[in-house]
């Protein structure tokens, strides 16, 4: 199962990941149309944190023992047994925010644009590589298997 890994030392704080995430989750899926014409502000599912010259982009980790799935009162948050992806079923979500309360990464947001629902990264299931990873200009996000990650010790200075 592939997951997104973060390489903090290469994040340049440009926030292109957020922009492309917004485009991906817009109605038109076209960048200019999505930002200029779609009336509703689209929520990005990835969040860039920045202080000084340190920054990184973080999104749902699709945890093995996901606290959000445990806390969900409606059964909307489910972990797919095959892909391992944790998704929120928008039809079932009632906006109780229990998931926001327990996610230790704080990567779930309140989507108030329509019916109140919890919004988070869905690992871009229909794409080969999630759009945030694809569009990071400095390859600060990597999409790979856990084993590949351990062998490929992507290091910082001097490695």
């Amino acid at each position: 199962m592939k997951r997104i890994y973060i390489q903090e030392e290469y994040c340049i704080g440009c926030r292109l990941c957020e922009i492309y995430c917004q485009v991906k989750h817009s109605k038109s899926k076209k960048i200019i149309k999505a930002f200029k014409e779609e009336m509703v502000d689209i929520l990005p599912r990835v969040l860039v944190e920045e202080i000084g010259y340190n920054s990184f982009a973080i999104q749902c980790r699709h945890c093995s023992d996901a606290p959000c799935v445990e806390a969900c009162i409606s059964g909307a948050m489910q972990k797919n047994k095959n892909t391992g992806v944790v998704t929120c079923n928008e039809d079932k979500c009632v906006g109780c925010w229990s998931c926001i309360m327990v996610c230790p990464y704080g990567v779930i947001k309140r989507d108030l644009s329509g019916k109140k629902i919890a919004s988070k990264c869905d690992l871009c299931i229909d794409e080969e590589i999630p759009v945030c990873v694809q569009n990071c200009p400095n390859e600060a996000l990597k999409f790979m298997d856990k084993d590949a990650k351990e062998k490929n010790l992507v290091g910082n200075k001097g490695g």
């Binding site: 704080g13 926030r15 960048i31 200019i32 930002f35 200029k36 010259y53 400095n138 600060a140 200075k157």
Partner: protein, 516 residues
């Protein structure tokens, strides 16, 4: 200030129909050119601050930005060009030396573009490098005067060649083994970022060629690439100790540099961080200005003494060479350097790049590398000492074609500096000395250095080396040659075009159309 004599060099065109105010340009410009106005929900751009590095244009997700050159529209004057006028305006304000970065951009003749390469047709057929062996492996170092062999018959066996062992008696000088005749030029840690140095070292290691520390010393995190690093001993002697000398694959004594012949290196204080201070062994925040001469080299005999001292200090285990700028009397200078014991001579031409140099010196001092290589190679052959040193050409090698032309003119290998940085993202805005390189190359600002991911940098450099090496093989094959050795100094493979007789004579080549 209110009165602006020098106008903006660039104009930023923003297509408001495409701009989505994502603010990526605002965040990515280290010169604060773009600013977001939340009241108007628009981004405004200040042309006067733009240096033309095109970072914003490259990252804009909708392609809304165009950076255009802004031509100064002074009254037409072929003598007083806008370049001269602007320089004087600048100098009248600053009163100091006008600094610039990268290589000379003046319209002097580029001889590479006036030299054409040969191809086989009927009698000496072309070779297909994808099917037949094509050797571009190159050795840098002193070649022996001759080879002596000794024959030893096996004990207790009959006479005859098959019972005899042939052994090479001549001891060979230490050599650098290059898988391609291209090396990375000397670029110091300080003038460029650590990530850039690491990319160069890693790419050189992986490809089987060499990089050069420049004046900056060797960073301890790059020790693992030491076997593919040439260490430089410059006039400032930054970072030089026995450890440093013994680690490197070869030692290069830097007498001069193509971009600024006659003066020493210059690293502005803004770029001397704690890490640089530790690597160069100098105080933090102070300008690192190398003196013009080495203060222990005032004659050719002094140079010979230093060369042999370095050989002694490293137990004669590695090549020790010298880097000089291409100046008027480069031929006798090179001859002297070779006779002084150098295993290789690096000649850096007029167009060589730099992190910081006075503009007048960069643009007006030195001679083009093409002419320098040709005359040095000619002189050393005349004197019968060509084999004693390898010649490395540097100073604006821009393509694989320039590489083979350099080798045909007499070089053993070339150094690429600017080309390597361009591969990593440099857009030649020539503002390296400000330390605000938006591409994370010529800066020490930690916010900016992150922008060069060494994984990406290494990959791009490897691609460059691979691409050029393949092209070299194709061109060699096309000329019917299957080893780079056969091309060296082989002027017959070159023809000049639109050059006058003197130029052709100095280059030692015929004019296009002339045959044997």
């Amino acid at each position: 200030m209110a009165l602006k004599l020098k106008q903006s060099e660039f104009e930023i065109e923003r297509d408001q129909n495409k701009c989505i105010s994502c603010e990526v340009c605002v965040r990515q410009c280290s010169n604060d050119v773009h600013e977001y106005d939340s009241d108007q929900d628009t981004i405004y751009s200040d042309n006067s601050k733009c240096v033309g590095c095109r970072r914003c244009e490259a990252l804009c997700p909708t392609g809304a930005l165009k950076i255009r050159n802004r031509e100064d529209q002074f009254k037409t004057n072929y003598n007083w060009t806008s370049s001269h006028l602007n320089n004087i305006y600048r100098q009248a304000d600053s009163g100091g030396v006008l600094l610039t970065g990268m290589g000379s951009d003046r319209p002097y003749t580029i001889y590479w573009d006036h030299i054409l390469f040969n191809a086989s047709q009927v009698t000496n057929p072309s070779i297909d490098p994808l099917r037949e062996p094509m050797e571009i492996r190159t050795f840098i170092g002193r070649k022996p005067d001759g080879l002596e062999f000794e024959m030893k018959k096996n004990k207790g066996s009959k006479e005859g060649l098959k019972n005899t062992n042939i052994r090479l008696k001549t001891r060979l000088s230490p050599q650098l083994d290059l898988s391609t005749p291209i090396m990375f030029s000397a670029m110091s840690y300080g003038s460029i970022s650590f990530n850039a140095c690491r990319s160069l070292a890693a790419a050189a290691s992986e490809f089987g060629t060499y990089c050069n520390t420049g004046e900056g010393g060797m960073h301890k995190d790059l020790y693992k690439y030491a076997n593919n690093t040439i260490v430089q001993v410059a006039s400032g002697r930054y970072g030089v100790d026995t450890d440093y000398l013994n680690k490197g694959a070869a030692i290069e004594i830097k007498i001069g540099q193509g971009a600024k012949p006659g003066i020493g290196g210059h690293l502005p204080g803004e770029k001397v961080t704690e890490d640089i201070s530790n690597t160069r062994m100098i105080p933090e925040g102070t300008d690192a200005i190398s003196p013009a001469p080495h203060h222990d080299i005032y004659s050719i005999e002094d140079l010979a003494q230093l060369i042999y001292a370095l050989k002694e200090a490293t137990n004669w285990s590695k090549p020790v060479g010298v880097k000089v700028s291409a100046v008027h009397n480069i031929a006798p200078i090179a001859s002297g350097v070779v006779r002084a014991g150098a295993d290789f001579v690096t000649i850096d031409g007029l167009r060589g790049g730099t992190g910081a140099a006075p503009q007048t010196i960069r643009d007006n001092v030195g001679i083009p590398i093409e002419l320098a290589i040709a005359s040095v190679d000619e002189r050393l052959r005349e004197e019968g000492i060509r084999h004693r040193s390898s010649i490395i050409a540097a100073g604006s090698i821009r393509s694989s074609a320039d590489v083979i032309k350099a080798i045909a003119l007499g070089a053993d290998a070339v150094y690429i500096g600017t080309a390597a940085l361009v591969a990593m993202g440099c857009h030649l805005c020539q503002k390296c000395y400000t330390g605000k390189c938006n591409w994370g190359i010529a800066t020490q600002d930690p916010y900016l250095t992150k922008r060069l991911n060494p994984e990406i940098g290494t990959r791009k450099l490897l691609n460059l080396l691979r691409g050029w090496s393949l092209e070299i093989k194709e061109m060699l094959g096309g000329a019917g040659i299957n080893a780079i050795e056969s091309l060296k100094s082989n002027r017959e493979h070159l023809r000049g075009i639109s050059l006058n007789d003197r130029e052709l004579a100095i280059l030692g080549i015929k004019h296009a159309g002339e045959a044997w």
